[in-house]
Amino acid sequence: MKVEQISIFLENKSGRLADVTGVLAKAGINIRALTLADTTDFGILRLIVNDTEKAKQVLKDNDFTVGKTEVIAVEVKDDPGGLATILDVIQRENINVEYMYAFLEKHEDKAIIIFRFDDLEKAIAVLNNAGIGILKGEYVYSI
């Protein structure tokens, strides 16, 4: 039910993002989804890759600070209102979205939304009850 995401601390300096992607490319790691959150001084790069453990290791070997977090991936139809339905269910149960990002599936008319909730277990239960499909990690890694 959960998807593993790695996050990387980056200073706001030119070339740092390229350094990360370079390290991953050299290790033959494929990026499935990514988002960059930034402040004046630093940024946090969040990634879902095809091999979390290997990605974490090669980044650490290259002196990056790397964290691992569990997130949820939800598939929605690429139609108006797709996201609204999910958020409505979530907010009714007082679950807070810490952050989220979305990407489109290549061969299907669907979007995948990655959520980080303050209460992951409760969110899973709520989404399941509402009949909203949560994707398995293995599926997301191999898209």
Binding site: F9, L10, T39, T65, G67, E98
Partner: protein, 433 residues
């Protein structure tokens, strides 16, 4: 103007006679009243009766900030607490401050010396003294205040901050003498420019600046921008506070030390040997009149040299050159003493902070800024911005609460802070002093 002509222009011979009498008396006093001093002297094999000439001073052991720390808070006071009418405190090298005390007579002496300092800068009765040194535990505000009152001038006790209002008061009250740190003087000039106030339209004629190191370039800048004479004053709470020495308006070349109350020495900071006259070294003071908290050969860690050349003002007291540096890593940020070890203490109390950090000091406009760079370890890291920002804010608050200064915390990537072999380079001071 010389306030106390008799004492400030004593012949060298008479001065040294007075100094020896006072020195012998203070050594007797600390030896009998303070077990810690007695033990140090016994360990060094010196008795008060061994002090027969001024040069015998060099037989006595030094006093350091560490000695003050070991006797925190009142252990080195030589009088009972019911004789102590005031205490002040400054930063120590660790969490605890350095505490000093004053009897009624000490406060009187301090006021006299501060009044002499103001007079040497040309201030007198009838002047409006704008005192923007901070009031509180810091000796600057109250020390200058009592001196100005003693002189008979009118004191405006504005303390620090609220710069626009200060400028309004300067205009409305007709301030003639400005007392503050040199960096605050430049800040005042900048804010005046923003407000469209012409410094030439003010009645200010002279500024007496101290509590932080400054360069002759900065002095020229202050003089040009504020259209005043800028003079240098020196002091430290351990010795008394502001007014240990002051530059005179006639000579404008070094600060006359009030030698009827303090005996200065210049030593080699490495070997502890007294340096030949005129050489550069660490300034050491023995207070010879203070009652509550005399210090014997106190190592200031300030670097300077002494000159005994005659001065245009007629004072016979020797002059110390403006302090150009220190023998330790103490930083002075907006007049506040900061030791890197104090910041380190706060940083290390946060779980996950690696012992790799660096302090960056800059001067933005006229004001000093301090930034601590901290490497983000896995323990500190979070995938959420708000967690990381919450972390930096809580460290900033801790430092503010403990040290009273604003220190920006900047998170940096691991292994980006330069590792040095041997002594880590903790401080990068980009200020041009």
């Amino acid at each position: 103007m010389i306030l106390n002509t008799e004492l400030e222009s004593l012949s060298r011979e008479s001065l040294e006679k007075l100094q020896l009498e006072r020195l012998q008396s203070v050594i007797e006093r600390v030896y009998s009243a303070v077990p810690y001093y007695r033990k140090k002297m016994d360990d060094a094999g010196v008795k008060p009766s061994d002090i027969n000439t001024l040069s015998d001073l060099s037989k006595l052991p030094y006093t350091t900030k560490e000695d003050l720390r070991l006797n925190y808070p009142f252990g080195l006071f030589t009088v009972p607490m019911d004789k102590v009418v005031r205490v002040h405190a400054s930063s120590g090298t660790t969490g605890k401050p350095t505490v000093v005390g004053y009897t009624k007579n000490d406060i009187e002496t301090w006021a006299e010396l501060m009044a002499r300092s103001l007079a040497s800068a040309g201030a007198d009765r009838g002047d409006m003294v704008h005192n923007a040194y901070g009031y509180g535990l810091f000796t600057g505000g109250l020390g200058a205040h009592y001196g100005a009152e003693k002189l008979g001038a009118t004191v405006i006790p504005v303390s620090g901050g609220n710069t626009k209002r200060q400028i309004m008061l300067m205009q409305d009250f007709g301030s003639t003498v400005l007392l503050c740190t040199p960096s605050y003087a430049l800040n005042l000039a900048e804010v005046m420019a923003e407000m469209g106030v012409d410094p030439g339209s003010l009645k200010l004629k002279v500024g007496i600046f101290g509590a932080e190191p400054w360069s002759s370039n900065m002095k020229t800048e202050i003089e040009n921008k504020l259209k005043i004479d800028a003079l240098d004053i020196y002091g430290l709470s351990e010795v008394m506070g502001p007014g240990v020495s002051c530059e005179c308006i006639e000579g404008r070349n070094g600060l006359h030390i009030f030698e009827d109350h303090f005996i200065p020495e210049i030593i080699d900071p490495e070997t502890g040997k007294v340096m030949p006259p005129g050489e550069m070294g660490e300034l050491v003071f023995t207070t010879i009149t203070k009652e509550a908290f005399p210090v014997i050969r106190y190592r200031t860690k300030d670097l300077t040299r002494l000159s005994g050349e005659p001065c245009a003002c007629g004072r016979t007291f020797r002059r110390m050159q403006r302090v150009t540096g220190r023998t330790d890593d103490m930083l002075i940020i907006r007049g506040v003493n900061v030791f890197p070890s104090q910041i380190e203490h706060v940083l290390m109390s946060v779980k996950g902070v690696e012992p790799h950090y660096q302090l960056i000091v800059n001067r933005k406009g006229a004001l000093d800024t301090l930034e601590a760079q901290v490497e983000v370890s896995e323990d500190l890291f979070s995938d959420e911005i708000k967690a990381l920002e919450g972390l930096t804010r809580s460290i900033e608050k801790e430092i503010k609460d403990l040290l009273g200064i604003t220190c920006k915390i900047k998170l940096v990537e691991p292994k980006t802070i330069q590792r040095s072999e041997g002594k880590a380079k903790r401080v990068i001071d980009n200020r041009e002093i």
